[in-house]
Symmetry: C2
Subunit: 338 residues, 2 copies
């Protein structure tokens, strides 16, 4: 088994602003595992939030020695070794996990969603993210995204009430909001969320900082729309610990380390009667299509990372009137664009 | 897709005694799902403990209409419909789930353990159950089972101390004990378990009645060997609720309704840092081999139901010096004996 990788700069359609900064390109690492004439493709989109960048990703991938394995089906022992190399490096680990799964699907000539027993028609609608800008420009972006019935907007920044009210009044699209740990006190969060409820917002992601769990429990008792954990949860083992504070979890391959752990997270969240959301970073169609394979098992999808870039090197999962359309292609279902 | 079934009486090598009675044959239902020239096989071994018998199994199977489905890969929608037909009937549901999984493996020409990314060499040792009898006869049975390094013995009956001490003294085999809810007070359970610890017993299954959860929490704080939940847990949703009272869970296909739920249970238990055991009823090699496909993911196996019968209609998973040997055969890996 051979592992190769290359770094690519994904170019954003609109410069992207979150509470932690702004950017117009996003560097990712595309990985490939070759064995027996078949190549599986994976991707790492490292996040500064978790101490990763393309340098840490390539350094981690350089440490992996797959030569002692001779069957990509041996996911359990291979990923046990890879995951044991470090505590973090979730996005680099996801690249390996995705490439192995893609290889297996290609070998069996079957999409991963079929291997997992899913029905393509159960795939959910994905939200489409509108980056923070002036209220007028955000409204223009929402109109440009008219094909998407659900918008996701970041809040927890100074003029958020203004643009949320404007979007609510001017668009028929449903709104989901992501606070990215932006509210610093529970009272501030409560006031803001009660106002968002009046505007028909569907749910709020990560209202308080990840370590403010008691405050989030307090908050959850006082609001009516679901609170979804993002920064508060990385892997399955985190879910029972936060199940009192949140109604659901946002699972991202780049946080949890890949499809195998993502499936564990879905099962764990379900056993706790929690909602499940599949989210993403800015990613090419490689990682987005990988995550989409699991999407028939979840309630909410926010798999738009590839829709926000203009130089996607792959074609994969499609979106029709917002709904994810899983193709009948093997593995993660992507084709390289020339 | 067509579903057929037939009832079979499995004949026991030794009459089998548990705290709830004694028997020398066990009726099971073998199910078959045919589609596209391939037949997947499943099995229901109904348990009185859960209000099931072969009559309830066949009545449930008669209610299933698979004619509107045309692809066994559609596990999620098919099992959603089948599982929605009733609240109980776990063993009948398991028969359908196993048959569908077997079909999928046969269609892909790959064993289920490979589809699930397991390594065959990770399969654990299975314990071998010694039925309750006179201490002398139990010792004779233990010697007959010399090929199995781990024995499982039922306790919570009058002469249990006597035969446990005898087995401990006369045999090098490790002992695991199953109380089957047999101790009625926590003090009685505590005294008995502390004595079992002295005899080197590895763990105790279900010391108290399933609804005595607070007593089991009390007990767990006072003993040193793991307490494993059996009757206290059926499906994944039960696991978080009992995680304070037990160190691990005994997953049985006939309790949880099949392989798909069993995998959910493994993932949920792991996220709670719990031990995982795979258990069984008296079953033919069909259901035992199905469960064995998941065994590389667990800590303890008690998959000996097929070893205790003398008219097994199938050949499947093998056992070598106690260790489960997963064969490289498609699906659940069984072949019908003529």
């Amino acid at each position: 088994m051979r592992l190769r990788y290359e770094q690519i700069d994904l170019r954003l359609r609109h410069a992207f602003t979150i509470t932690r900064g702004s950017r117009d390109t996003v560097p990712v690492v595309i990985a490939a595992i070759e064995h027996d004439g078949i190549t599986g493709v994976g991707e790492a989109s490292p996040s500064q939030r978790y101490g990763e960048n393309t340098g840490t990703v390539t350094a981690f991938l350089d440490r992996i020695d797959l030569s002692r394995f001779n069957d990509p089906f041996d996911l359990e022992p291979i990923l046990r070794e890879v995951n044991g190399l470090s505590h973090g490096d979730a996005s680099a680990k996801a690249a390996v996990d995705i490439a192995l799964h893609d290889w297996i699907g290609k070998k069996l000539r079957i999409p991963l969603w079929r291997i997992w027993g899913c029905a393509a028609e159960d795939a959910p609608v994905t939200s489409f993210t509108i980056g923070i800008d002036t209220p007028e420009k955000m409204l223009a972006k929402a109109r440009e995204a008219a094909a998407y019935p659900v918008l996701k907007v970041k809040v927890g920044v100074p003029n958020d009430r203004e643009y949320i009210a404007l979007l609510h009044g001017a668009s028929r699209q449903r709104l989901r909001v992501d606070a990215n740990e932006g509210w610093r006190t529970r009272e501030e969060a409560l006031e803001a969320i009660l106002r968002l409820e009046e505007l028909g917002v569907e749910f709020v992601e990560q209202p308080m900082p990840a370590d403010h769990l008691a405050d989030t429990v307090w908050l959850r008792e006082r609001v009516h729309i679901p609170l979804i954990a993002d920064e508060s949860v990385k892997t399955a083992a985190d879910i029972p610990l936060i199940s009192q504070a949140f109604d659901g979890v946002n699972i991202k391959l780049m946080k949890c380390g890949g499809l195998r752990e993502a499936l564990r997270m879905i099962h764990t969240a379900r056993s706790l009667s929690m909602k499940v959301m599949l989210g993403c970073m800015i990613e090419s169609s490689v990682a987005i299509s990988a995550a989409a394979q699991l999407s028939p098992l979840v309630d909410y999808a926010d798999l738009d990372g590839n829709l926000l870039i203009i130089n996607d090197p792959y074609h994969g999962v499609e979106v029709k009137t917002g709904k994810l359309v899983l193709r009948n292609l093997p593995g993660i279902g992507v084709e390289k664009l020339s």
